[in-house]
Amino acid sequence: MPHASATTSSHLLKKDHLKGFLRKLAKEYRLVAPVRNRHNDVLFTVIDDLDAAEIELGEPPQNSLKQFFLPQQERLYSYTNTPDGYDFRPTQTTIPPTVYFGVHPCDLSAVLYMDVVFSRRQRDPFYLRRRQGSVLIGVNCNSPAPNCFCNATGSGPFLEMGSDLQLTDLGDRFLVEIGRAPGHALIEHWQGFFSPSGDKDSAARYQAFLEARGRFSRQVHVEQAIRQLEAGTVPEQVWEELSLRCQDCGGCAYLCPTCTCFTISDQQLDATSGQRLRSWDACTFGGFTAMTGGHNPVQAKTSAIRQRFLHKLRDDVRQNGRPSCVGCGRCVSVCFGGTDIVRFVERACQGSL
């Protein structure tokens, strides 16, 4: 078998060789991939036993990489307050170099967005220490799930950039495209697993892309909703309906791969010590904006809901040129009352109810 040269930008990996390749990777990295567990749920999981793990590349995992880079709850510091002073010590955590394998385009786009949020204005050390040393191996989506609409947010079903290696399922083989330098290094290091790809493979990839694009079951007019938000023409009843139906669970923000709002709070351990925690927060919670003394500049539930969609669809477009919604559809299935982004877009585009 002719060995691949790392200088070409795309290669082939036979499906039979995938486990072998992952086994090699797992020796040098911590391996995280979407795994279908015995309860039939698909979660990004740290894989300890590759043979026992059923890696699932079709159904999108229910958690996203946010859980790994911005955990639901993380200890930032331990502190002590003694006559000697009030002292903060950052939590020492060693995050092993990790390969995130099988990341869908929506989740890859989300990581790129988080990278911007956590390093644009200030470099967030706690995010970056988890993010640094991570290798992202993406897989393009051949068959979007029923709630998916990444085609409407420009973040799928196929991705040209963002990952270190990008895989496309071509039946018996993966087309492997090199994104960034770490991907290049992986191919270089394990050349034996890869063979050169040809025009036929590129054509197959294009064909797969066309087919995937035709498989979306939802038409979500994100662009139109963005225009409405920008013009301020979303009818008031839309906000009222959504806020009546919102059950305040925060699930949309928690499962969203790009919702990065967090809170920082202290937890007392004893009289002289405690810890400072950072945890996920949701802008739809009433307490998100409440100030001490009870005054809340966001008084109505309608304003809080409005803020959520404004941020994702208007403010982030203004700032980054694209919405921070990546069309993964997680908030659609997580929503109790049906006040998710898809319902919002539908309602906003209807103009009135």
Binding site: R121, D266, C283, G293, R314
Partner: protein, 281 residues
Amino acid sequence: MPQPSTDIYLPRQAKVEQIEVENSQISTFVLAFCDRSDNDAFRYQPGQFMLVSMPHCGEAPISISSPPTRPGNIHLSVRQAGKLTTAMHGLRVGDTIGLRGPYGRPFPMEQLEGKDLLFVAGGIGLAPLRAVVNTCLDQRDRFGALTVLYGSRTPSDIAFQSDLGLWRKQGMDCRLTVDAAEPGWDGAVGLVTSLLAGLKPELSRSIALICGPPLMFRAVLGKLAAMGFSDEQVLTTMERHMKCGVGICRHCHMDGKLACVDGPVFSLAELRRLKIMELDG
């Protein structure tokens, strides 16, 4: 400004050097970083704020009430409102607190140069303006006439008395009003807007700086507009719940803007472009 530490969330220890009781609810804490070089290197501008850590209370944003023209100390004037500020009011000289900052967009001091400045404040709202007033007084020839209008609930609630006294001595026009008089009070009674009536500002070179509770804020805006102030001539500093202070956590969102990095100082013209509770009611 470069941060000495690369950890943007790490508070630095600061010692309470002095506490000035301003009224029953407000005290000014005079602080200095425990690390001398930190203290020497500390630079800020009026209108910026610090995030204060108190043991087991988390953090809260407090605007700096001292002028950058008097380095060596940071003054934080704090009203007792929640858990953290209540804990601060239990501090004694020599105690240590945590500080990080300075954060936020300051008052545009260059734009104020040569202008007549009209300060309108209610209660604790005078704290951030105090930093501006004292900066102006320390560089008196850079600015025009300075007028302070200050509203309090009752005469015994009037905070910053020693400042007001000093300012008057330096020739500033300081006018006070209270919501409810007490025996012995012969000053004005009523909203701070009533003090505006007596003023004849030179509109072409005036700028108003306002800080106070939302109700007062709206009333003052109405009055200033009636007097002929344009939205560009009105500056204010906004209060919001904050956690990170650096534009990530989004607790301080204001319709697309973040108070911690886009503010807390805004011109009224900027605020008018936002849908916020202070203007919409």
